[in-house]
Symmetry: D2
């Protein structure tokens, strides 16, 4: 079962509520000997954290990671690796008025219906606060993939409501609070977000994540396909409503001659496949895109119901992101990295006897 | 692990190659007492089968199901339910010329790279032939969902390359070989497909599947979310490159006021969520859409490589569908039904003690 | 996978090293609405704790449980329930001399061989300290089984080296530090243990655990049999070398007429089966016995090897139990309770549609 | 979940009833490239088969294995490997009289109570017929362990009711129908069994299985310990009531100085541990013993109940083994081999990065 756990050989179990005493995770199956320190979690947690700019929630997440087990003298031991982050700056009083209300577009109603009980503070377990631990776990996966397979996992916002990048540079992505690959548009984005925040409304976004350097052969058909597990991992992120690999939904209007990435001894001639064929990595860049809905927590009143089933106008007072998609980039990266590392370990479990297979061609052209 | 198996309490393990002696599956965790006969598999297998019209592969799949275990005197016993279908009309000689070649856009290369060995006949395990057993297993899930929860799972093609329905009627879907909801367009589709077939090329498609009547409360956050498992199930189907729930990718450009489905005592005022919030069913129709790429098996030559790594022009001679998306409808239905039934059983495992929860509102309006 | 996790619908993931900052667990799949407080963990943790008498390790385990998540206003919410216990009184310096040595009869050598790295302090992850979290998790299982099914899970020492109880009274078990069911022998046991401690040697023990009131029907053949899962759960406890159900190894010399528990409308005429037939509970008392080896941590020198592979005489200085079996009683109870609760939830998942089945007979006679 | 499936990376799913059309299994996760043919299953299936001597059931099990998938040109492909055996010589009429009766000591009553329905013919799914597929799957595991790790898995009867071997020779085991290691006692055993058969009663037995050549490092603490998984695998075999590793229950009366296997650079000085410490293999012979109860299917009448709950004297007419333990030897071997192979694959998944670890000592002395 997998209520609070994902992954097979490398698995991550998370726990914790938005406004509870702490959040944490247990990472199981980590190969022994990997150097890791508490400080290494900081950069990605900061990238994900709220309060970094005026465009995200003003909750200050300190997010200091404590390593509780699984590391000895700075290296992983192969046993359960547990991480803990104490919650601070949790203002439960912000939620006092919604304890007896079900907000539209939120998990309030569904948790209540499923469990007959719910923790209303900050959304409890359904809060995006939980994704902090995904990012933390992803740090380990990114490091292992980098050091053992020279794989880079990175991502960027590819759409903010109606806005799309007009040019693309990886080097710009980390230089602005939007993970935006077009430096020339940052001012435009800031204006858009300022206007949006003033309006009280929110907006959706698109995020692209890629893994460069993935070798051929990862993925376990038929039901442990690499793309299937990526899809589940991405869709499990709060607010994600769609996932596509490579050409994705654009493939609906493509012809076979256009979609099939031809192969030559010099490499692939395209990457419509997004680096995955038959559920197995091709050796090309793995390309994933997710659609993130606009948050439903708004200052603008929305019709909901209260605990008695009566109609009620609901206004959200907590600190929320007008575009949750912005902070989704490091989360999606983490999930991609974790799926890849798990698949890497599983691949060598079954296929560790398979030697070098020829012919093998280079990644080739990454256009799609 | 899940190479050839999916589902938790209700699980399906499939086996068999396209041109091997047989394909089959083991369905585990089926509740006892469900009436089932071999004949009940026929309708959905026929819907999925090739050779039904000139618009799909001309391979004739007889697909006679033999129940090997798990049924006694016409009712399920709760033990492993095994189904077997012998392969007939498998023309392996069609594939003789591609045994030493890797077709572009196919799993030939990736299977070879992963395993160092592959069965080239008809694509072996990577063939869509495997989906036959998903459809067979789905028959049991559909029946259980219908008899125990009055749930209907059904689907239709929503796009065939550039063509979209201009009107929508469920009643039309089963009256044409395209699962098309607009009877007035069938002639247009036939012409399009005839032209396509003559051209030797193929085209992508979009398929929508829905489950009507799903109660609130199914789905297991955080990592067994209903939408996450649907995403994995859909993405595991051959040729699927994208999955969306409810508004899906359209939510990128939506505002929160537009996307959040407001709630009143009379029901929801929309279904942008696609029937799922926080990974749990809302009581509305569960709406899923998948993007299916155009098949890469074409009469038109494509650049590939051979076993020596040399460049080669590849022409596929086997019998293939110019639009694999057409037959994907019953497959996607089956996967949705199987995920829902598994979640239903898991929900009562954990939450069987939870009584009727109030307030509960009707499904309301299904617009999105 | 299951490195640090067991259970299916109800699962427990533990983490933490003996001398690390903390130990903890995540309990997943707990039904919502169960009242639970941090204080309720105390009694069983105290029963398991070291330092309770002079006959167990003198390490003082405070074992104060902090509930980190999954409980709201005193009741479980159905989300991940996390528990944390900070380690105190951990004297790592006791282990300084064995850091570069492999103790005979310990996991030092095997952890080193498997992982190439190990935390030597107090045995690290291989320490019985880990079982604290099993006992904590077991508190929840015991409570649910008691309140929802009127099941009692309890245990006692049934053998301490050569000593066996001469009479049996449940009421005596909790009145002495040996979990011994024969009050008349407590003085004898104390003398035996005092002599043993002085000798510097250790001794094995037998523990019996039972579950009374288990309904018929729990267990999932063929590979999720109740007895198979009990066997795994027990054998996973440190120092356990054998598990038997009902007549166990005595059944080797039994005839079928002697072993088969005959049935009458008034109930079973015996319980050689230990309450399980075909992997499913019969409605009788579930009876399990485990064999626990003598600890290998002794003041008496033993031949081992050091990090250079050289022969070395090893003397253990840490605080250890001369009979680890004594404290195993609450641990074995916890594991039995957890397996039963998991099976109960799984049974209703698959068989929740099955109504009252007749004929059903009483438990009858529990002799064996 | 694991109703009809066991194993993690290498998993086996079995199906089929005793008197249904067929039994079979799906073996998932088999490394690619392993040569295998249908003929290779014969020797072990014959060892397990009934009808081999007058001392086992007279049902003739032809047991011809058909490979349905997962093998191409004589080698495994890494995809689902499915095996099928058609049932022949199934005399369901032998069971007509017990359809409405619950036999004492059998799973009839518990299956009925759990599922509300059961297939009474030959015990349906609860029959030892199912173990045929374990043996078949075990053939693959034995072959892989032998060819990749030079491991030998073998077993023998170590007790038949009151009789124990007076001397031990592996070479004798396969030369008599009792898997008995003392050739001088075969006449004695034959007389014992003939007398037993005439009496109409049955007897229990003990079986020992060992794996020689297992490297250090296999096993996944804390809950995937090698011994824990062996315990579950053995206890899942029909009629097994107890499992012990190494010294097992004898360790109860051992002192630590006696039990702890001391280590020297030349190897271990004993093997009380049975080759496993801390749940991880030590490099010594893995030693397992199981207790097998006497069959409850007897010509001698036993008290049972009928479908109306009335008392009834039950006489079993089917063909049964007076000592089911005899044929359990190859089954226990198969289960041990399957657990070891699964653990081997899992070990390299997580610890494939760990190079040669020193110091490593030889297996040494296997006394216990």
């Amino acid at each position: 079962m997998s209520h609070n756990r994902f992954g097979k050989v490398l698995s991550v179990t998370t726990f914790g509520e938005s406004h509870g005493p702490a959040i944490g995770c247990v990472i199981d199956g980590v190969p022994p000997g990997l150097p890791i320190s508490a400080e290494e979690f900081e950069p990605d947690l900061t990238r994900r954290a709220t309060g970094r700019s005026r465009h995200t929630s003003q909750r200050r997440e300190a997010d200091v990671v404590e390593i509780l087990s699984g590391v000895y003298q700075g290296r992983t031991t192969g046993t359960a690796l547990a991480l803990l982050i104490r919650n601070v700056d949790a203002r439960s009083k912000d939620y006092a008025n919604i304890e007896a209300q079900f907000r539209p577009g939120h998990a309030d109603y569904t948790y209540w219906q499923k469990y007959g009980i719910r923790d209303p503070n900050g959304g409890g377990r359904s809060s995006a606060r939980e994704t902090t631990m995904r990012v933390a776990a992803g740090v380990i996966a990114k490091k292992w993939l980098a050091t053992h397979h020279s794989i880079t996992v990175r991502g960027h916002l590819d759409q903010l409501g109606p806005l799309k990048p007009r040019q693309f540079e990886w080097s710009s992505v980390e230089d602005n609070p939007f993970f935006w690959p077009d430096a020339s548009m940052v001012g435009e984005l800031e204006t858009y977000m300022d206007d949006l925040r003033k309006s009280g409304d929110s907006i959706g976004a698109g995020v692209t994540v890629v893994a460069e350097g993935v070798p051929t052969g990862w993925g376990e058909p038929i039901y442990g396909k690499l793309d299937a597990e990526i899809a589940a991992a991405m869709m499990s992120i709060n607010a994600v409503k769609g996932v596509e690999i490579g050409a994705g939904f654009a493939s609906i209007t493509q012809h076979g001659t256009e979609h099939r990435d031809e192969m030559t001894p010099e490499g692939f001639l395209g990457n419509q496949a997004g680096g995955i064929l038959g559920g197995i990595s091709t050796g090309q860049t793995v390309r994933v895109r997710v659609a993130i809905k606009p948050t439903s927590s708004l200052r603008l009143p929305g019709r909901g119901i209260d605990a008695n089933g009566a109609a009620v106008d609901i206004v959200t007072k907590g600190r929320h992101d007008p575009c949750v998609g912005i902070r989704a980039t490091p989360i999606a990266e983490a999930m991609l990295a974790l799926v890849l590392m798990d698949q890497a370990l599983r691949h060598r479990a079954q296929c560790g006897d398979v030697g070098a297979v020829s012919p093998r061609i280079p990644a080739g052209i990454d256009l799609f």
